[in-house]
Symmetry: C2
Subunit: 311 residues, 2 copies
């Protein structure tokens, strides 16, 4: 079932290296060509045999490729697209794995030549690790891979990309790019910013020692450090490029937070109780949807293949 003959991975971090393992494991292509900007990353990729070939330039890597995957930080997509554009094979498909879709489309689409398909994508999968050694074949298994094909996209190219994602174990959903960015602002981008902030607050505190924070982290804080440990470059670009949706959700968040803060200050127990009761229902919905487990201790002992850390 070799759906694409040659796949070029531009950027060799967690997502691309996991794709390499997953595509090879499932026999989804004949050849994997890779490129990374850093010589060290290229050397590592060669050393661990991540790709069949590693190229020094992105232009060289995309030559003759049927599928090109842009797996670089969102802020680097435009420059890469400009660089590879003259070297793209007619009929090839370009996709990306960025956590933001509108900004990527704005940056990349103008460079894509006539006759080449551009189908933006976003796998909702990740860990707090990064780099070419962090990838593993099962990263996408049972995770969502969102595609945001533009109007008039070639159905055959979309179907081929969808089959590749499904071949790596993902569940594929198509949606509008603007809606994607809003949904992710709620489910991922704003939660990450908040987690980063809370971890930063703890770091500043003088009266509570760092060792105490670390020691007693399991009381709730640990879940924040978990989602605040992901790749800084990636997250910087997410917030810079999904600015409007993130600021919108952040505004709602601070409004709500101030209302709760006021309830605490005024001792309004009914407000707090009613609020905390309502949030339980969402949790139940997530368990019923099979996105998590109802086992005690949050099922940490039993849970197998879900994670966070990817925008």
């Amino acid at each position: 079932m070799a759906l694409h003959d040659r796949v070029a991975l531009i950027g060799l971090g967690l997502i691309a290296s996991s794709m390499a393992h997953a595509m090879r494991g499932a026999g989804l292509c004949r050849e994997i060509v890779g490129h990374a900007r850093s010589a060290e990353t290229r050397a590592t990729a060669l050393e661990i045999g991540l790709c069949d070939r590693v190229c020094e330039t992105a232009a060289e890597a995309v030559e003759g490729a049927d599928l090109i995957v842009l797996a670089v930080p969102v802020g680097a997509m435009g420059a890469i697209a400009a660089e590879i554009a003259p070297h793209l094979k007619p009929g090839a498909t370009v996709t990306d794995v960025g956590s933001v879709k509108q900004a990527v489309i704005t940056a990349v689409a103008p460079h894509i030549p006539e006759g080449v398909h551009f189908i933006p994508g976003h796998p909702l999968a990740g860990t707090e690790h990064s780099g070419p050694r962090s990838g593993f074949a099962t990263l996408f298994r049972n995770r969502w891979w969102l595609l945001t094909p533009p109007e008039g996209a070639d159905p055959a190219a979309v179907a081929r990309l969808r089959a590749l994602c499904e071949g790596m174990g993902a569940n594929v959903e198509e949606m509008d790019a603007a809606h994607h960015d809003l949904v992710l602002a709620v489910t991922s981008h704003t939660p990450h910013l908040i987690a980063y902030t809370m971890v930063g607050v703890a770091d500043h505190l003088r009266r509570v020692t760092q060792s105490e924070i670390i020691r007693y982290s399991a009381a709730g804080f640990r879940d924040f450090t978990r989602i605040a440990a992901s790749d800084p470059t990636m997250w910087r670009d997410v917030f810079l490029t999904n600015k409007e949706a993130t600021l919108d959700i952040l505004g709602r968040f601070t409004e709500e937070l101030f209302a709760l803060q006021r309830a605490i200050r005024l001792g309004d127990g009914d407000h707090l109780f009613e609020y905390f009761t309502r949030t339980r229902a969402i949790r139940r919905g997530i368990i019923e949807a099979g996105q998590d487990t109802a086992a005690p201790d949050f099922g940490r002992a039993a849970e197998a293949t879900n994670g966070t850390g990817k925008g």
Copy 2:
């Protein structure tokens, strides 16, 4: 190694029922007597054989007990203390498992008669479940149990209580009540409030459907629903009674959040990158301290006995 002859559990929720299982499993006392305000909870406790005896009143339950554990919401501690005070056996020890310590001491200490020891405590253990059926013997294993004995507390009584906690598998640490409340405001109370808030924001949103939020929750939001699903009564009381420390940390949190929000609005990528890099170090500290695992996917497949949900 029966350290206490008769233990009275006042309140039969997650913590008390887990204590019953753990004490019985390790043979830490001869008899467990229980009381809960709700007739339904008492009936359940009888039905599942949680205690040797279940009493209709707290006063009755504490008669002749060597150790009395107040395992009710923080806001109910004062009234319970007043009710049981005349029935406490001379030489007995009263402890509690509340998530806030100063407010419990203010509410309970004045009622404790001369000759009875009062040693406040707080096990940092929990799940998002509550009620008499939610308890299990291993809840406290490798978790912290903080004791805040007042100045001049009887060393023998403290040692006996410490041995009981250790017998249930917990690591015991003693600290000042005010410091406890500040540490917990950072590591638990504020993170919980923030998680509740973020889940509440998602609930309000009209343009993103609830099913989308649930479906794509693994991208970060799921960790928030996890910590926002705990017992509403308990959390209401935590915020009402640890008001000052929580508002202090919340103030710092919103300051930091506004600084990050401003950086996003102004497109200040350096600020964001520097901030996100710093928070990674705390995560590493937690892994090195053995409070979590560095395994990919946050070790969800491998991790065994840690959890959150208790203040």
